[in-house]
Symmetry: none
Subunit: 222 residues, 4 copies
Amino acid sequence: MNESRFEKATFAKTTQDRRRQVLDAAASQFAAKGYSGANINDVARQAGISIGAMYSYFSSKQDLFLAVVDNATVLMEEILRDVAECSADVYEYVARMLGAAREFAGAHAALNQLYLGLTAQPPGELTVDVSEQIEAVTPDILSGLLERGKAEGIVRGDLDVPVYALCIDNIFMMYQFAFASQYHRQRLAVYLGVDRAADADALERGIAAFVEAALRPAASGA
Amino acid sequence: MNESRFEKATFAKTTQDRRRQVLDAAASQFAAKGYSGANINDVARQAGISIGAMYSYFSSKQDLFLAVVDNATVLMEEILRDVAECSADVYEYVARMLGAAREFAGAHAALNQLYLGLTAQPPGELTVDVSEQIEAVTPDILSGLLERGKAEGIVRGDLDVPVYALCIDNIFMMYQFAFASQYHRQRLAVYLGVDRAADADALERGIAAFVEAALRPAASGA
Amino acid sequence: MNESRFEKATFAKTTQDRRRQVLDAAASQFAAKGYSGANINDVARQAGISIGAMYSYFSSKQDLFLAVVDNATVLMEEILRDVAECSADVYEYVARMLGAAREFAGAHAALNQLYLGLTAQPPGELTVDVSEQIEAVTPDILSGLLERGKAEGIVRGDLDVPVYALCIDNIFMMYQFAFASQYHRQRLAVYLGVDRAADADALERGIAAFVEAALRPAASGA
Amino acid sequence: MNESRFEKATFAKTTQDRRRQVLDAAASQFAAKGYSGANINDVARQAGISIGAMYSYFSSKQDLFLAVVDNATVLMEEILRDVAECSADVYEYVARMLGAAREFAGAHAALNQLYLGLTAQPPGELTVDVSEQIEAVTPDILSGLLERGKAEGIVRGDLDVPVYALCIDNIFMMYQFAFASQYHRQRLAVYLGVDRAADADALERGIAAFVEAALRPAASGA
DNA sequence: GATGAATGAGAGTTCATTCAT
DNA sequence: TATGAATGAACTCTCATTCAT
């Protein structure tokens, strides 16, 4: 199994409930205080288990962190694949992805913050392991949809697929991060004003319109 | 002066050289290990001063951090204003901003990492002070250029200025961050392949093309 | 329990032996060096425990100090009550109190020094808490015995009870402190000479005689 | 000169004003925070001189402290001698000494606190030097007055002069300390109530009455 | 396997003292 | 001689990790 790279055998044997409590507590602490700032003893307390148990599940703070990240990655990949499956073309995909980003940020705030933190992680021991987990699923999907769009004539035929995929994903990430940190939240307010920043539906439509404008063949307007 | 909010009087009196050494050392340590992970004693050692001197310059780790951030903010704002001044229209601005982002990332790698870290900072004491420093200069400039572009007919007349400005700035930020962390670097390679990721000029032209496609009036193609 | 105001739960769970070691070590260090001068690491070392354990028992140096004081207060109050119970009248009480002061000073030298130090503590955070613990037991007992003595005609009928009680207690305190500091010890030698200062029994009889002289009704001599 | 034992030659050469500023600042800091708790840099700042100057006047914190104490001792001895000279007999002396104690406590609060602190100083380097300064003037005066009182028949002929002198001085000291610390102030309030504790004249008369009662010959009532 | 008291290296910070200017 | 920036040992307190029960 994917998760077992960082956990000890004992963790697999405990109840699903306990596993959830531990991973949730860890996610919330790491998200709230960062890797260095988080306190393993606090995590254990919040999870309702002893620090001894904690160390029987994970052999170090680092492994606990990596397990949490691993877990989050799995969850995100599921969502990403779901969105892809439901989307008929790249335009629908863009709209759905923005919605999914918002939903994920709402339902898994800690994981979302954690994810943002990960992308900012300075190079070091943690990063080495973490970057291996960068999902290649979105690149593949986006590239695929763009290529198909070209074939179907619904996107500009001359666009640079990899670069466009990157730019679109950048917009996804930034939208998802908009809910993750004080900085991003405030930035949103600066750009849109407090009221518009609060109207997620309209915002998503606006962002989707930006992307569409970049993709639509010029002739389509004629 | 802007910088003196977080430093003690003694720091202002020191030589410019020493100021640089301290701020550089602090930036590099905070960038490399994050706020919690960084060690004031290491900073002092790297700056070639005693820990006592460090505390005669800044009254706490937090103040040192904020001074570094403040410093970086000032520097970035200068660059942002320079770029704006040299740019005739929004298209030139986009191109120049991408170049400036790359240059900044190259010349001030530590500050760039630090900046990325800031945007990921979990809410807390630090963030309160830090978010006040979010520069509103780019929003103003971008909005202005888009409005002017509308008036001049070089950008689509129906575009939603705040949202477009946000999207464009998102693309700037993500490009700048592409050089800041292992995660972003690797992500770039995943999207573009190692070779294309290394050709910054071409990449910037590609990104600029994406933005232009989103902005150009449909009629322009007719 | 009284003692638990300043200690953490962990301390209550430890063995009585360990509790004693910690409190004794702390008392001796605080007594020897004062609050500011004492070193928590030295206390831990002297108590034979790690500094980590120390901080799992008390959450700060201040709390450790207050716990020691609290402890000493409880002990002293016990002794004070015992002496009161055994004393038929104020004259016996005076004699017994002097003896008890000497015994306490001998058996609990550190606590005695600590007590002296407390009375000299400059106003501040420590004093706020500490002064609440000033035992009101001696004032009550002394006043009661003087009133009863008046009723029984064994003390002068016109004496001012509160002031006399204060003066007598002053004499008790100064006698107890005579063993607590270099200053007081030397002062005793200056007044009495080294030989007489060493003969505690005779000294106590002398002091008791002074107090009796102040209390006895004038008519008793006729 | 007496004062020059602990100061360096430079201190003698500065103006009287500067000398006062330094000694006053030191007295107030040592009184407020104790020897260990006081900060030499703060003393210098409060005295309006540089830390460098401070160390050109005194070669260590300890020497500064001892100089302050020395200074206070000289001042107190003057007062003690004045009181003695003005007093016709032991009864007048007692009354005047109580008044002098109160005045000193009012006029030199810091020195009074410092004095109390000194008497509580745990044995150590400081005490060694300090105790040499214990004035033998009160013992001599009190003993002399008691002897003369015996000869003149105004005090009991059988009283033990050294012990009585000690007891009376104890009462002086405790009265003086009543103004010096939170502990002693509160203790006074416990014995006398807040109102009576505030009426110093009446309190002094009451204390004097206690001492007189201990001294007056029994026959004097016949 | 679970517990949580215990450990101790290491962190941020202070302050007596020095010394170049 | 006066200044005050600089020094660095020492202090209080934290926390990842261990291990006896």
